[in-house]
């Protein structure tokens, strides 16, 4: 099975790419392929088990959105047909209707999910996130210039218990649409959440034994316990 990493030359911030390295460590038989900004995404014409896109710079947001825009309709059809696509951090913002910032950044998004990302460039949001998905507790971090407004009741991926969801206020975090799994949480999401990684591996039809499972669970349990402590504020 192949995992396609989109635009790693720009979508490479905050340790996000470690998610793919971890999947490879869990399943050494996986093949990782990288697609650059000048190439049509392979999942549109090849059998790709999972597409991954991570956080990027403001310039990267422009370039990556431009690179995907010609294939918008095909991408929508693919994910609706069940193509697994994991987007994390501000990669999610590219999938919305657009991105606007108080510094004049204006990007038309792919419109695969509703809402618009609104950035305040000198007021960075930093928080930890404790949420739920299915029967799992999800932990993670947000470090963002802004949130996604106007997504309404679109299907979320996680529900926030502590911390904030996609609009910075309510519990709905991220999006699901067909095979799309999208969250604004940054960094090594799969490494921090071994139950979620097991769930993902099963959905990909793979053995759900994790690399370094004991160590990963040990770290996960400690973080879950910490995030439940009321004495810890979720906002940095």
């Amino acid at each position: 099975m192949k995992i396609e990493v989109l635009f790693s030359e720009v979508c490479n911030l905050y340790g996000d790419l470690a998610n793919v390295r971890y999947l490879k460590a869990c399943c050494p038989q996986l093949t990782i392929v990288e697609t650059d900004l000048h190439t049509k995404p392979r999942f549109l014409s090849e059998d790709i088990g999972l597409v991954f896109m991570g956080s990027t710079t403001e310039q990267g947001l422009k370039l990556a959105t431009e690179a995907l825009m010609p294939w918008r309709e095909e991408i929508a059809a693919k994910i609706d047909a069940g193509q697994r696509f994991l987007a994390v951090g501000n990669a999610v913002d590219m999938l919305t209707e657009g991105i606007r910032s108080d510094s004049g950044l204006a990007i038309t998004g792919l419109g695969l999910v509703p809402g618009q990302a609104k950035y305040r460039m000198m007021q960075r949001h930093n928080s930890f996130f404790l949420g739920t998905f299915a029967d799992m507790e999800i932990v993670g971090f947000k470090s963002l210039f802004g949130h996604i407004q106007g997504a309404g009741d679109a299907e979320a991926w996680f529900r926030a218990v502590r911390g904030v969801g996609r609009d910075g206020a309510t519990a709905a975090e991220g999006f699901r649409r067909g095979g799309l799994m999208a969250t604004s949480l940054i960094g090594p999401l799969l490494i921090l959440n071994p139950p979620l990684t097991k769930w993902l591996l099963r959905r990909l039809g793979l053995d759900d034994t994790l690399a370094f499972e004991d160590a990963a669970m040990d770290s996960y349990r400690k973080r879950v316990a910490e995030f439940h402590e009321e004495s810890r504020g979720w906002k940095y």
Binding site: V10, L13, D36, S143
Partner: protein
């Protein structure tokens, strides 16, 4: 009204100085913070010395500013500096308060200011240096600085148009800031140890800033530092006005070309980052009008203080205190690179935890996955003891780096962690600690010394 308010703020701030001295609180930013509270645009009215140079950038700004100050002070300049305080608006304001008399007149003939990149919007609208040095731009704190392109945008938006920039041609992120400003560049030509393909996880200049084509590096020092050429449009790293070459660390020499003429220099440090700092200082001092002979003479009386690394041998074990700025992938990766290039067996006490957030928040470990822990996957790194609140995260990261589990120990308590070290004579023990973990790290070192003086390795 503005000027009157400024004078009131200046007097109040000046009055606070003896009070701070009496209460042993001198050296803080309090005078500047007070002045800014009383007069938010205090910096608009501060009297400026006839010549001002600012130093900013991710790494090396303190070292560069200190060297500039040492050399210029020795040449008799009356300097206004923020060396004793911080590099944010309150620290810069404090420097101006010390450098002004009660009538608001400057007492100095030159200012050398270290300025935090993120503080640019609060400082440059008022303080307009004649020269601004940008040492380099790398990733820093995810939470505060996001990514270097973000910082470059802040600098571009806030650098005064009239400031002449002194930029690092080997760093395409900082080299392209504020394109409208007049500028000169410095660089270091090919060196032993250079590579072409990036060995680091952090590689923030992979595509051409002009056409987004792939960049090829003729030589790469580390991360995105080197000489790049776009394979699509021909864009390239700028030519350097101050070009160091023939750097010979063994003999402690280098040459520097300016306007076709070569000038010889004696190295005052051997680390690549400090050679960059030297070349930066040469470029800045040339812009300030010093001759190469005067600069050489200045370096003869200048030392680079190594505050982030200290070494002591106890019971046959070398204890090395290595500050590895927590939450900073670049700083830790550079340290791990140094460790891998140091001969001998090493035991590492990994405790770069951010103690400030350990109790009230929870440290975001994302930076660990941008950090080259893979450099520690070596036979001569014989043991890694992970300590502190993020000990379990460190273990997981080390495992993903391919380090065998039998080499890794988890012990949250830092003192007990020191006891778990092998402490074998002939080994080097590195205590890797974060910025706010320094006091704890030195207590752990004292405990380790005590163990070594009593003799014997770990049970």
């Amino acid at each position: 009204m503005g000027k009157a308010r400024f004078l009131l703020a200046l007097w109040a701030a000046k009055l606070s100085i003896p009070a701070l001295k009496i209460t042993h609180h001198n050296g803080t930013d309090f005078p500047g913070a007070l002045a800014l509270k009383l007069c938010p645009d205090f910096l608009r009215y501060v009297p400026r010395p006839p010549k001002m140079i600012a130093v900013t950038g991710t790494n090396g700004k303190t070292t560069v500013a200190n060297m500039l100050e040492d050399i210029l002070e020795r040449r008799g300049h009356r300097l206004l500096t923020n060396r004793a305080g911080s590099n944010i608006a309150s620290g810069v304001s404090t420097a101006f308060i010390y450098g002004s008399d009660l009538l608001g007149r400057t007492k100095c003939d030159m200012a050398v200011l270290e300025i935090d990149e993120r503080s640019a919007p609060r400082i440059y609208p008022y303080v307009k240096p004649d020269y601004i040095v940008v040492t380099n731009l790398f990733r820093d704190s995810i939470m505060r600085n996001a990514h270097p392109g973000y910082i470059a945008d802040i600098l571009t938006a806030n650098f005064p148009r009239e400031s002449k920039l002194i930029l690092n041609a080997d760093d395409l992120i900082s080299a392209t800031v504020a394109p409208e400003n007049d500028r000169v560049y410095f660089a270091i030509g090919p060196m032993e140890g250079d590579v072409q393909e990036c060995e680091n996880l952090l590689n923030d200049m992979r595509i051409c800033p002009r056409c987004a084509g792939k960049l090829r590096y003729d030589y790469r020092r580390y991360h995105h530092i080197g000489h790049a050429v776009c394979e699509s449009c021909g864009f390239a790293s700028p030519a350097a006005d101050y070009f160091a070459h023939d750097v010979d660390v063994a003999s402690g020499t280098m040459a520097l070309t300016e306007a076709g003429q070569d000038y010889d220099y004696r190295l005052i440090a051997d680390g690549v980052h400090n050679i960059y700092n030297m070349v930066t200082v040469i470029a800045a001092l040339r812009q300030l009008g010093l001759t190469h002979e005067e600069i050489r003479e200045g370096f003869d009386h200048t030392a680079i203080l190594s505050t982030r690394l200290s070494r002591e041998t106890v019971g046959g074990v070398d204890i090395i205190m290595q500050m590895s700025k927590d939450k900073n992938a670049l700083a830790c990766s550079r340290n791990f690179d140094a460790i891998r290039h140091t001969a001998g067996d090493k035991e590492l006490l990994v405790m770069m935890n951010c103690m400030g957030v350990a109790k009230n928040w929870s440290e975001n470990p994302s930076w660990m996955y941008d950090t080259d822990f893979e450099f520690l996957n070596r036979d001569d790194v014989v043991q890694l003891v992970c300590a502190g609140p993020r000990a379990r995260d460190y273990k997981l990261r080390l495992l993903l780096a391919g380090i065998p589990e039998e080499k890794i120990t988890v012990e949250e308590d830092e003192f007990r962690a020191a006891e778990r070290l092998q402490r074998k004579p002939g080994h080097q023990v590195y205590i890797l600690y974060g910025v706010d973990g320094m006091p704890l790290a030195f207590r752990v070192k004292a405990h380790l010394k005590n163990l070594l003086e009593k003799g014997g390795g770990a049970a």
